[in-house]
C-alpha cells in the first residue's frame, strides 16, 4: 500500500493515488483477458480469416486475398445469390418493422406518461414479452398463426372469413414475422421513450399551454424536439436489432417460403457455421457490418440536422 505517501498529499488533492501501482491492473486483468480473447482478437482475426479460403474441415487454408469479397459482388459466384437475397430480405424487414417499432412504443409511452393509478403495473405488462426469449415467443406465434388449427385462423373461420396461410405464402409470412416482432419487442422501446418523456421539464408544457398551444402543438413543439436524442437512440438501435433478424424466421418459416425470409445472418451462418466455409462467411459479416455502420451514420446525420422549428 502506498497510502503513506499519498497521505502526505492529502486525500482531497490526489484522491486517485491511494493504491499500489499494480493494483489497477489486477482489477482489470480478468476483464482484459476476456476482452482480448473474445472481442478484440476475433475482430482482427476475422479479417484475416476473410482473406483465406478458410474451410473449418480442411487442414489447408490457402490465402486468397480479397477473393471472398470479390465473390460477394460477382453475380456469377455461388455466394452472390444467397448473400444478396439475405441482404435484400433483411433490408425489407427493417423497412417493414422499424416504423411500427418506433411509432407504437411512442404512442404507448405517451399513454403511460399520464399520471394514473396502476401505470407502473401497465408498464410492467407492456414490457413482459421482452423478457421472454425468441424461442418461446416463436413457438407461441407458431401456434397462434398455424394455418390449420391456430387461434387466428380459428377466429377468422368463426366469423366466416377464409383461412390465411400465415407461414407459407408471401406477404403473409413477413406479416406474421413482423407482428411477432412487434408484440415481442415494443415494450423495450416504450420504456426508453417513457424515460425520455419523464425527463422533459414540466415548465416547457406549462409555458406552451400559457402561450395557447393545443395538445398537438405541444406534442409537435415540445415533446418531439425534447426527445430528439431519444429518437436517435431508439431508431438506431431498432434498425440494428431488426437487421439482426434470425430467430423469428428460423423458428416460424425456416427461411421460407422458398428463401424469401432467409436473412443476412442466416445466409452468413449457413455459409460459415453449417457449410463451414468460414472465410467467405467472415467476409459476409464485414460487408453487412459496414452496411449497418453506413446506415447508422446516415441516420445520425439526418436526425441531427433537423433543428427544432
Amino acid at each position: 500500500m502506498s497510502g503513506r505517501i499519498t497521505g502526505l498529499a492529502g486525500p482531497v488533492r490526489s484522491p486517485l493515488r491511494h493504491h499500489h501501482p499494480v493494483t489497477p491492473y489486477l482489477f482489470v486483468a480478468p476483464y482484459v483477458v476476456l476482452l482480448l480473447t473474445f472481442l478484440v482478437g476475433p475482430a482482427v482475426f476475422g479479417v484475416w480469416m476473410s482473406l483465406h479460403n478458410w474451410d473449418f474441415m480442411l487442414p489447408g487454408k490457402p490465402w486468397v486475398g480479397l477473393q471472398n469479397y470479390r465473390d460477394l459482388f460477382d453475380s456469377s459466384s455461388v455466394l452472390f445469390h444467397p448473400f444478396w437475397n439475405g441482404m435484400k430480405n433483411t433490408f425489407l424487414f427493417v423497412l417493414m418493422s422499424v416504423p411500427f417499432l418506433v411509432a407504437i412504443p411512442l404512442g404507448l409511452a405517451l399513454l403511460l406518461n399520464r399520471k394514473f393509478r396502476g401505470r407502473t403495473f401497465f408498464r410492467a405488462v407492456v414490457f413482459t414479452p421482452f423478457v421472454l426469449g425468441v424461442a418461446v415467443v416463436g413457438l407461441v406465434f407458431g401456434y397462434l398463426f398455424d394455418p390449420e388449427v391456430g387461434l387466428v385462423n380459428g377466429i377468422l373461420d368463426g366469423v366466416g372469413l377464409p383461412k390465411v396461410s400465415w407461414l407459407s405464402t408471401q406477404p403473409q409470412a413477413w406479416i406474421t414475422i413482423t407482428v411477432m416482432t412487434i408484440w415481442w419487442t415494443i415494450g423495450f422501446n416504450a420504456v426508453i421513450f417513457l424515460a425520455g418523456l419523464q425527463g422533459l421539464p414540466e415548465q416547457l408544457y406549462e409555458a406552451a399551454e400559457l402561450d395557447g398551444a393545443g395538445r398537438w402543438s405541444q406534442f409537435r413543439h415540445v415533446t418531439v424536439p425534447g426527445l430528439r436524442n431519444v429518437f436517435l437512440f431508439v431508431v438506431t438501435t431498432t434498425i440494428l436489432a431488426s437487421a439482426n433478424l434470425f430467430g423469428q424466421p428460423y423458428i416460424l418459416t425456416k427461411g421460407g417460403p422458398g428463401d424469401s425470409t432467409t436473412t443476412a445472418i442466416m445466409a452468413m451462418t449457413n455459409e460459415g457455421l453449417r457449410g463451414f466455409r468460414m472465410g467467405s462467411a467472415a467476409a459476409m459479416s464485414y460487408v453487412l457490418a459496414l452496411a449497418l455502420a453506413i446506415i447508422s451514420v446516415a441516420n445520425f446525420l439526418i436526425m441531427r440536422e433537423r433543428k427544432p422549428s
Binding site: 486525500p11 486517485l16 491511494h18 493504491h19 499500489h20 501501482p21 489497477p24 491492473y25 482489477f27 482489470v28 476483464y31 476476456l34 473474445f38 478484440v40 476475433p42 475482430a43 476475422g46 480469416m49 411509432a103 404512442g107 404507448l108 405517451l110 399513454l111 399520464r114 401497465f122 405488462v125 414479452p129 423478457v131 421472454l132 425468441v134 424461442a135 418461446v136 407461441v140 401456434y143 390449420e148 388449427v149 380459428g154 373461420d157 413482423t178 407482428v179 412487434i182 423495450f188 420504456v191 426508453i192 399551454e209 395538445r215 405541444q218 431519444v230 436517435l232 438506431t236 438501435t237 437487421a243 439482426n244 430467430g247 428460423y250 423458428i251 451462418t269 457455421l273 468460414m278 459479416s285
Partner: protein, 306 residues
C-alpha cells in the same frame, strides 16, 4: 396487424376525450391536462394489456389440453379434459429432454451472470477510481466494441471454442458473452456517481483497495449490481443464435435452441410444444415479477445514455 390498431388508437390523438381542457385557473395550476386521465385511458390500457397477456395465457392453457382439443376448429377455449400428458411426454423423451435443458439453462445463466458481474465490477472499479497507464486505451477499446455488431465475432469465436474444446459445452455459453462491454460501462457510470468520502475515510483507517471495493463500493452499488445481474441472466437464458450453432447433443442443449428442435419434432402436437415454451417462460417470468423495477429501470437508463 392485429396489434397495431388498438395501440395507435390510444396514441396522442385518442387522449383528447380522456382529459378535458382545464376547468379553471385554480385547477390549471395544480395539474396539467396531459396528466389527468378519464376512464377511457383505463379501457385502452386494459385492451392493450390483454394483447400482451392473452397469448401467454393461451400458451399455458394449451399445455393442459389433449392434442385433439388443441387442434379443434371451431376453437375450444377450455380443455374438455384437463391432462398433464404434455408434461409427462417431454419428461420421457430422450431425444428432447426438456427438463435437462431447463437445468442446463439455469446452470449456464447463473454461471454467466456471476462471471459477468464479478469481472465487470472489478474492471469498472479500477476504471472509475484509479489512474493507471493504459486506462484511456482500455476505455476507448471498450467503447469501440459497443459499436461492433455481435455477428462479426461468430466465425472467429467458433474457431476459438473449437480450439479450447468448448464446443457443445456450458463454457461456450458462459464465458465469451462476459467479454461484452455493457456491464463495465454500466457499472462505471454508477460508481462515478458515488461520492468518495466513505472510501477516503476507509483509507485513513488503513483499508486496502480490495477491502474498499468489497466492503464499500459493492454494498453501495446494490441496485446497479442487481440490474446487471438480472440483465446478464436474461441475456444468457434467452440467447438463441449462438447456442443454436455451438451446441449439438440433446443432453447439452439449453432451452432456447432446444425448443426449436422440440417444435421440429412435435410440429402440430401443440400441448407438448407449448409445455416446452411454458417451462422456458416460467423461470424468467417469476424473476421478472420479483425484480421488475430493476429490469425496467436498467433498460430505461441504457436509453438515456444514448
Amino acid at each position: 396487424m392485429t396489434t397495431t390498431s388498438p395501440i395507435t388508437g390510444a396514441g396522442p390523438g385518442a387522449s383528447d376525450p380522456a382529459s378535458t381542457e382545464p376547468g379553471g385557473p385554480a385547477r390549471r395550476r395544480r395539474a396539467y391536462s396531459r396528466t389527468r386521465v378519464g376512464p377511457l385511458t383505463y379501457v385502452a390500457m386494459t385492451v392493450i394489456s390483454l394483447i400482451f397477456i392473452l397469448p401467454l395465457l393461451w400458451m399455458l392453457l394449451t399445455t393442459f389440453k389433449t392434442e385433439s382439443d388443441a387442434r379443434s376448429i371451431p376453437i375450444r377455449v377450455m380443455p374438455s379434459e384437463w391432462t398433464l400428458r404434455a408434461y409427462r411426454l417431454i419428461f420421457d423423451d430422450a431425444a428432447n429432454p426438456v427438463y435437462t435443458w431447463l437445468i442446463n439453462s439455469l446452470v449456464v445463466s447463473v454461471l454467466h451472470m456471476v462471471l459477468n458481474v464479478v469481472v465487470a465490477a472489478m474492471a469498472a472499479y479500477a476504471l472509475s477510481r484509479m489512474t493507471f497507464r493504459g486506462r484511456n486505451l482500455l476505455f476507448g477499446t471498450l467503447i469501440a466494441t459497443l459499436f461492433m455488431p455481435g455477428f462479426i465475432f461468430f466465425m472467429p469465436n467458433y474457431l476459438t471454442m473449437s480450439k479450447l474444446g468448448w464446443l457443445d459445452s456450458y463454457w461456450a455459453l458462459v464465458v465469451p458473452g462476459a467479454a461484452g462491454a455493457f456491464g463495465v460501462f454500466f457499472l462505471r457510470q454508477f460508481f462515478l456517481a458515488i461520492p468518495r468520502e466513505l472510501e477516503e475515510s476507509a483509507l485513513i483507517d488503513g483499508a486496502n483497495s480490495w477491502t474498499i471495493f468489497t466492503r464499500i463500493m459493492l454494498p453501495l452499488s446494490k441496485p446497479a449490481l442487481v440490474t446487471l445481474a438480472v440483465l446478464s441472466f436474461l441475456g444468457a437464458w434467452n440467447d438463441f443464435v449462438w447456442p443454436v450453432f455451438v451446441l449439438f447433443s440433446p443432453d447439452r442443449m439449453t432451452l432456447a435452441p432446444g425448443l426449436a428442435t422440440l417444435y421440429g419434432a412435435y410440429t402440430t402436437d401443440y400441448p407438448v410444444v407449448m409445455a416446452g415454451a411454458t417451462l422456458a417462460a416460467i423461470p424468467v417470468l417469476i424473476l421478472y415479477v420479483v425484480v421488475q423495477r430493476y429490469v425496467i429501470e436498467g433498460v430505461a437508463n441504457s436509453g438515456l445514455k444514448g
